[in-house]
């Protein structure tokens, strides 16, 4: 079960908000692995593990504690580990406040943790693959530098910009420039690796050294009177890196260059965008490391929040499919 840390740090109102606030009370960091009993009382946190075997031992440890306090609402001490089991942090005693909660949400009640989406939003994912020297997709797809997926949503307001640009397409060629916001939504999430290496350079403590997105649209005739296709063609070149002035402060260092050629289509039915399909291919250079952590040699679980070192220089491919979201 996954919870957004933003909600753990700023819990919503209501029953779940109170449960999240109780969980957050003992958090050692804004992100990590937390375990709770059936009443929402924290059993143990851990931000990392000595090795892979230690993860299993952590689960055994938590399961054993659960057997003792499965339904307890008081005197449940929250254990905390920087790294299980070798680096323990101080325990946090129970607040001894029992939080009453129902079995489920009422029929007209929405879960505050659910993701809301406006009807008509274009919703879907970008999928990216790193290619090996033979041009084949790299294996070990559990690693984001080899295989990535990310959510893309384009709100209706941005879609309207696209449709307006299409309306103003030159009469002779039927071509136009894809509006900046629309193109940005497609291109900027398309990169390998974790969130922290976004090449657009918009993250805190990062800089952009090059930002070029040039996508054009060309209206394509179809056999269906209510359907218009727009062929998308163009290229992008995003280069970002850690702001050098902060590398000495926190030790993190990364750089990421992604240059892609784009091709695909936007489908419009009855004057509404119903689908986007796009592919991209190009070159990518990604380096992620830490000046002190032994990210190249230590087991991944030891630096669970930061992962291992990455040094990728090769070809990559991307595919995007977005569809119009309809309310249930």
């Amino acid at each position: 079960m996954a919870l957004k840390a933003a909600m753990v740090n700023s819990p919503p109102e209501g029953t779940e908000g109170r449960l999240l606030a109780e969980i957050a009370r003992s958090r050692p960091a804004p992100q990590g692995i937390c375990t709770v009993n059936s009443k929402g009382k924290v059993l143990a946190w851990s931000l990392g593990f000595e090795n892979r075997q230690s993860i299993l031992e952590f689960l055994d440890h938590v399961s054993a504690r659960f057997q003792l306090v499965r339904d307890a609402t008081s005197d449940v001490t929250a254990e905390r580990y920087q790294r299980f089991p070798t680096m323990k942090l101080p325990d946090v005693p129970d607040s001894n406040v029992a939080i009453e909660f129902p079995n489920k949400h009422g029929p007209s009640e929405k879960c505050p943790l659910a993701v809301e989406m406006e009807e008509g939003t274009l919703d879907g994912r970008v999928i990216g693959r790193a290619l090996d020297e033979d041009g084949e997709p790299r294996a070990r797809t559990e690693l984001q530098e080899n295989y990535m997926e990310a959510r893309i949503q384009i709100p209706r307001a941005v879609q309207r910009e696209f449709l307006r640009a299409m309306d103003h397409a030159t009469e002779k060629s039927g071509s136009f420039t894809v509006p900046e916001a629309f193109a940005d939504a497609l291109v900027t999430p398309s990169y390998l690796g974790q969130l922290d290496v976004a090449p657009a350079g918009r993250l805190p403590r990062s800089v952009s050294t090059k930002f070029k997105i040039a996508l054009g649209g060309e209206i394509v005739k179809t056999d269906e009177s209510n359907v218009t296709l727009v062929r998308i063609d163009g290229d992008s070149d995003l280069r970002g890196k850690k702001d050098p002035q902060f590398v000495a402060q926190d030790g993190w260092s990364w750089s990421h260059d992604v240059a892609l050629d784009w091709y695909g289509f936007v489908r419009i039915e009855n004057e509404q965008i119903t689908e986007v399909v796009l592919t991209a291919k190009g070159n990518e250079r990604l380096v992620w490391e830490h000046t002190k952590f032994k990210m190249w040699t230590e087991p991944d679980p030891q630096n669970m929040m930061a992962g291992h070192g990455i040094d990728f220089d090769g070809r990559s491919i991307y595919g995007i499919r977005l569809q119009r979201h309809m309310a249930k």
């Binding site: 933003a6 693959r129 290619l131 797809t141 969130l195 063609d233 091709y263 399909v277 991307y318 499919r321």
Partner: protein, 98 residues
């Protein structure tokens, strides 16, 4: 990075990682330069290429994360098991990137 760790705590550890054929796109990538306009892929071909890129059998997808805390607590009581919470930052709860 968490998701590179989590597969090993799932019962699916022994499932071999599947190397998917990413369709024609990878093959096309070997040949630099855009094709002539007449040979450019159709809408259907692009959609097909995108569809083949998704790896269904990727290890982290097999952990069935819940999103409602109340449902999780109910399942904990029913199954007599503790809950693991993956606390992460900023992203929508159903986003794969971390």
């Amino acid at each position: 990075m968490l998701r590179s760790i989590f597969p090993i705590i799932s019962p699916f550890l022994l499932v071999p990682l599947c190397i998917m054929d990413a369709g024609n796109l990878a093959a096309e990538t070997k040949n630099a330069g855009p094709p002539p306009r007449a040979e450019q892929p159709s809408y259907e071909k692009v959609a097909s290429s995108v569809a083949t890129m998704k790896v269904e059998d990727v290890a982290w997808r097999k952990v069935k994360w819940r999103t409602c805390l109340l449902e999780g607590l109910k399942a904990s009581r029913k199954q007599d098991k503790p809950i693991i919470l993956w606390i992460f930052i900023d992203r929508p709860i159903d986003d794969e990137r971390c």
